[in-house]
Amino acid sequence: MLDVHVPPGNVAYFRSLWERRDYMVYSAASELRSRQMTSVLGNLWHLLNPLLQIGVYFVIFGVVLDVNRGDNYFAFLSVGIFVFGFTQRSTIAGAASITNNKGLLNAFSFPRALLPVTSTLTEAMATIAPVIVIYVVALASGETPSLQWLLLVPLLLVQLVFNFGAALTAARATSSVRDISQLLPFIFRLLLYASGVLFDVDKYADGKGYAWIFELNPIYCIVSLSRWTVLGGEFRLDLLAIFLGWTVALSAFGLVWFRAGEGGYGRD
């Protein structure tokens, strides 16, 4: 017989999540459909939203403030905003996944990680189409396509694993202390500036004592690496190593910490 209070091993837990893959697909598809159902332009918003963001930041930072920018600020911004937004949306959705599904949590028994995992996959599916925006912007702004552009795809897959870890951590954190959901937007605002999404950090921080702060920031690492695939420049193996380290650490921590609260989700 099984002891219900001894949690299943990670392999058994992953298997029970895998058995519920139909839930992930169905829930993600219906969530994405209902999200756009009420607007006139519907699914076009998945493309328009990043384009408008790029436009706004281009006007403010590129034209009005005229920040010290690289050669192709348009493509520079489009990669930064896209990569940053991917992690930001996944984390915030993960934080909301427990509170949004209280009814399901209280009604049925299932591995609780199903909810943050599904919300992360939903955001990943919403993100597939905007990848094209990056390539379109890069082409339109005069970059020459190369095979190196395709390296963005494996990088995004690693980022997806990072996002799972961030979503699991945020889900546990907000379900223990509700106030954290109020803090998340500010944390991401800070990260937006600390990750060099809008300006080239190297031009400001190079040689200064605080440059290491940026290099230890995982989002700065993935933003810079993604830019390298499209815009070229120097390949930074150290940033890749730091990002992989963060990905392993955060997803392991997120899984262990989330599972430690398995019995308590959905209750107040």
Partner: protein, 261 residues
């Protein structure tokens, strides 16, 4: 999950199979007088002075449940019935003892709200897929769910337009989509109407006949008499009486009548 030798199964096929073994179970809650963590409170009174009491909801309960039986859990409010059921489901942490089961129990709570802004149909998919069915299975059995829940055209409406009885009917229909080996019902039928209650009682009896185990918390003693073969009477976290359903319920009724007077 850990396989244990602590409970040995009978090898003789004619003896019934043990499906739930509760051993010396203790559940203790810590209840704070001011349950909300509030900065002003913390600043003025500090962490230490928060008034808390521990409630011993379940005290060294040992029970065995077998395949093919339905057992009713009765007792006054606060006697620990729901806590016991949630602890068997693994949803409530225990403070001592053990709960062994043959497979993960399916727990169904009071008038479950599911996903409020989504239609009945979508809720059947989401709920069914969450408990581990695949999409084709749910599609194949959708007609059955609509018929059994008696919701008809309401299935296309979002759940926040449903009454609590309608929600309970839908949730019960979803939880029984796949016949669970162990089904735990916490007042799950209480708000359903009479016609639905009759259907669900028939369903429970059917599940029981298929050699599964059902535990039922209910204040409706007739419901328990119609479905259960045994009953457990809990009083202040302790098993007051355990045995044949009529015997236990008669004793419980006599006791609550004498208290009410």
């Amino acid at each position: 999950m850990a396989v244990t030798d602590a409970i040995s199964q009978p090898t003789d096929p004619t003896t019934p199979r043990l499906t739930i073994a509760v051993r010396d179970l203790d559940v203790t809650y810590r209840v704070y007088e001011q349950p909300v963590l509030n900065a002003r409170e913390l600043a003025t009174r500090g962490f230490r002075s928060r008034v808390s009491t521990s409630v011993e909801a379940i005290r060294s309960v040992t029970l065995d449940f077998w395949a093919g039986e339905a057992v009713g859990l009765v007792g006054s409010n606060g006697s620990g019935k729901s806590t016991l059921l949630r602890t068997i489901a693994g949803l409530q942490p225990k403070s001592g003892g053990h709960v062994f089961v043959t497979s993960q129990p399916q727990f169904l709570g009071v008038a479950a709200a599911l996903k409020p802004r989504v239609s009945g149909y979508r809720n059947v998919y989401l709920g069914g897929l969450a408990i581990g069915l695949d999409k084709d299975e749910v599609t194949d059995r959708m007609d059955e769910v609509v018929e059994f829940s008696g919701l008809g055209d309401s299935m296309a409406r979002p759940l926040n337009t449903y009454s609590s009885g309608m929600r309970a009917r839908l949730a019960f229909s979803i939880a029984t989509l796949r016949t669970p080996e162990i089904l735990l019902l916490d007042e799950a039928l209480a708000v359903g109407d009479r016609a639905f209650r009759e259907r669900s009682i028939a369903k429970i009896n059917e599940i029981r006949r298929d050699a599964n185990t059902i535990l039922l918390v209910s204040h409706n003693l007739n419901e328990i008499r119609q479905t259960c073969n045994r009953a457990v009477w809990l009083n202040q976290g302790v098993v007051e009486r355990l045995g044949e359903v009529d015997e236990v319920l008669d004793a419980y009724e006599a006791w609550s009548d004498s208290k009410g007077r």
